[in-house]
């Protein structure tokens, strides 16, 4: 990344401290309500772990958006079961707690990169108090899955 000139550094510092104030304020108000919140950790593609809180009833897509988590391309269809970019991988015990998957979710999941047996679509999984402390993993976008929708190229006649 090229280095910014001094001017933009100063501007950025001013801005960042400004946001810091906002963020501290948000943390404060959040703390007041935190007894109703559920803590969730996301492990991003680069392995970085981010821990945030969400409200029961919110989907994991809501959490990603509200907390402004930087996950490239997450939730392209805005939670309407039409894209599979909100694919998340769960620990097996957590996955088993999540309840049944609809055929429609399975259909979109089948198109997700790096599908596992404990995969779900984040826009279809809603937080409950019993999910307190869970960790979910954002799958890598596997290059060789991109050849076609089924991950292979076809032959001709």
């Amino acid at each position: 990344m090229p280095t910014d000139s001094t001017g933009s550094h100063i501007i950025r510092m001013v801005l960042e401290s400004h946001f810091l104030v906002i963020r501290q304020f948000c943390c404060y108000t959040r703390a007041l309500r935190s007894e109703n919140k559920v803590t969730v950790s996301f492990i991003n593609r680069d392995g970085e772990k981010v821990t945030v809180k969400g409200s029961p009833g919110d989907s994991l897509l809501d959490v990603v958006i509200e907390q402004d988590l930087d996950i490239d391309g997450f939730g392209a269809c805005e939670g309407t079961l039409a894209c599979s970019t909100c694919h998340l991988i769960f620990d097996e015990d957590v996955f088993n707690q999540l309840g049944p998957i609809t055929d429609e979710e399975m259909d979109m999941l089948d198109l997700a990169y790096g599908l596992t047996d404990t995969s779900r679509l984040g826009c279809q999984v809603c937080l409950t108090k019993s999910l307190e402390g869970i960790t979910v993993r954002v799958p890598e976008s596997v290059a060789d899955m991109r050849e076609s929708d089924f991950g292979t190229t076809s032959s001709s006649s």
Binding site: A76, D110, S154, S155
Partner: protein
């Protein structure tokens, strides 16, 4: 149709808040930007590939300026002109594209055909890098006799017709015969089959064009056969689209049970997506025809059949049927090959729609093009044997993959471009003028670019016309009319 939860409002609200924050930051940064730290990149094509590449470039480099040049006065490519009208949720990506287009450091220039109105060489002069994201404007040909008979259409044109692509507005497909044959078993084939057979009350609530709605209302097509050259285990469509066919009101499947002989035995060894897809197909085969009897419309798959000839009517002008060569499979799984047995079979039909794939075309002699693969030859988006040229989307990979696939490969291209700036492979030490020189050049040539706010006028007009008839929008079908709306 869809049992999902819709998070429209909450999601949009938060996205917008995040966006305005990004805009403030980027706007301030720009003030301090010196020419050497201001890379200027232009993108050719305003479809998903163009917008996702732009999105990532803008995010990854705090001073990046991006111009998008698009052939039509309308952005979004196949999201508007490909994605089926009864799939509005897929079009939600337009919200993100709109944010990108409205980004401080991004500018949309519609109504500019690169390769005709301005050359790639001229763009290279004006920008540090040019990203080619112009999709696939052509289609693969069947290469069989009779392909040019009236009654034979490419799926690309048929889709363009019902979705309001200006160049397809006068297609007037002949829907007066009972049987239509679709060649190819991909998702586009299923889109076309669904549109041909959907009850009208579903379509009237979509943004399908008024002329095609009227034509479909008068359609006599009752039976659609979707023909593949390989077997049930090699179909290219995906399960969501198959399920929509299975659940399509007023229709029933018309399959050949013998085609599925031996399939049940191999199911257990298939990967989950292929297994579930095949099971759903077999369920459709097993299930008794719905009670509506002969009044219902039918759809079905025919396997191991390659087109050999489109058969003409006695006066040699119209389509009367299709001759299919019967194949057998060599090998198994996704890689199985269809081999002709030499036997043929004729199907009577008044309409043939060829849905065997789109195809990218070369747009400028300055850009290398692989005529065999019909893509721009590239390594992770860097155009081979050139400098300052990149590509993303269908023109980079070939015409397959859903929007999410296109998104990932566009992010890859953007990453590579940023990496090239960092390592110095892409030289940004001299300032480039960008659209400052391109816009006057275009005006001198009589081309008037359409800005993103111009498009918003068209958008508003379309939604206004749509609300009158209870549709989300009534698309303008003519470039002249679009330009008139912009300048009114």
């Amino acid at each position: 149709m869809n049992t999902s939860r819709v998070f429209g409002f909450k999601t949009m609200k938060t996205l917008l808040t995040n966006r305005s924050r990004a805009t403030i930051t980027s706007g301030l940064r720009r003030l301090a930007c010196t020419p050497s730290s201001c890379p200027r990149v232009c993108i050719v094509g305003g479809g998903p590939a163009g917008f996702y590449t732009a999105q990532h470039l803008l995010k990854a480099h705090p001073a990046m300026q991006v111009d998008i040049y698009e052939r039509l006065p309308i952005p979004f490519g196949l999201v508007r002109f490909g994605v089926a009208p009864d799939h509005p949720e897929v079009k939600n990506v337009i919200n993100t594209f709109t944010q990108t287009a409205q980004h401080e450091r991004c500018c949309f220039h519609g109504n500019v055909t690169v390769g005709k109105d301005v050359s790639v060489e001229e763009l290279k002069q004006a920008y540090h890098a040019v990203v080619l994201s112009y999709g696939a404007e052509g289609n693969r040909l069947l290469g069989v006799p009779g392909e040019n008979l009236s009654g034979v259409y490419s799926a690309k044109d048929f889709v363009g017709w019902y979705n309001g692509l200006p160049c397809n507005k006068d297609l007037c497909p002949d829907l007066s015969h009972e049987t239509a044959v679709i060649l190819g078993q991909g998702n586009v084939a299923l889109d076309v089959a669904r549109i041909l057979l959907s009850p009208l009350d579903i379509l009237t609530k979509t943004d399908i064009t008024q002329p095609s709605l009227e034509a479909l209302a008068a359609s006599r097509v009752r039976r659609v056969l979707i023909v593949g050259r390989r077997g049930p285990l090699q179909v290219a469509f995906t399960i969501k689209e198959l399920r929509e066919m299975v659940n399509l009101a007023g229709t029933r499947p018309d399959m050949v049970p013998a085609d599925f002989k031996g399939i049940a035995e191999v199911l257990k060894d298939l990967p989950r997506p292929r297994k579930r897809l095949t099971e759903l197909m077999m369920k459709a085969v097993r299930e008794a025809p719905s009670g509506e009897g002969s009044t219902s419309r039918q759809w079905g798959f025919r396997f191991l059949r390659s087109p050999v000839e489109v058969l003409p009517t006695p006066d040699l002008t119209q389509t009367a049927g299709i001759r299919l060569g019967i194949n057998r499979l060599e090998g198994s799984g996704d890689g199985a090959r269809a081999v002709a047995t030499g036997e043929t079979e004729d199907i009577e039909c008044g309409m043939v729609i060829s849905s065997i794939g789109y195809q990218s075309l070369p747009i400028d002699p300055a850009v290398p093009f692989d005529p065999h693969k019909a893509i721009i030859p590239n390594a992770v988006g860097r155009v081979l044997k050139t400098s300052g040229l990149y590509c993303s989307g269908w023109v980079k990979r070939g015409p397959t993959g859903v929007i999410a696939t296109t998104m990932n490969d566009s992010f890859d291209t953007a990453r590579v471009l940023i990496q090239d700036i960092e390592t110095g492979i892409l030289d940004i030490s001299t300032a480039k003028p960008g659209s400052q020189t391109v816009t006057p050049l275009l005006q001198k040539r009589g081309v008037n670019p359409v800005s993103f706010s111009d498009w918003e006028k068209i958008d508003a007009e379309e939604m206004k016309r749509g609300s009158v008839v209870g549709k989300p929008r009534e698309k303008l079908l003519d470039v002249t009319e679009m330009l008139k709306t912009v300048h009114s």
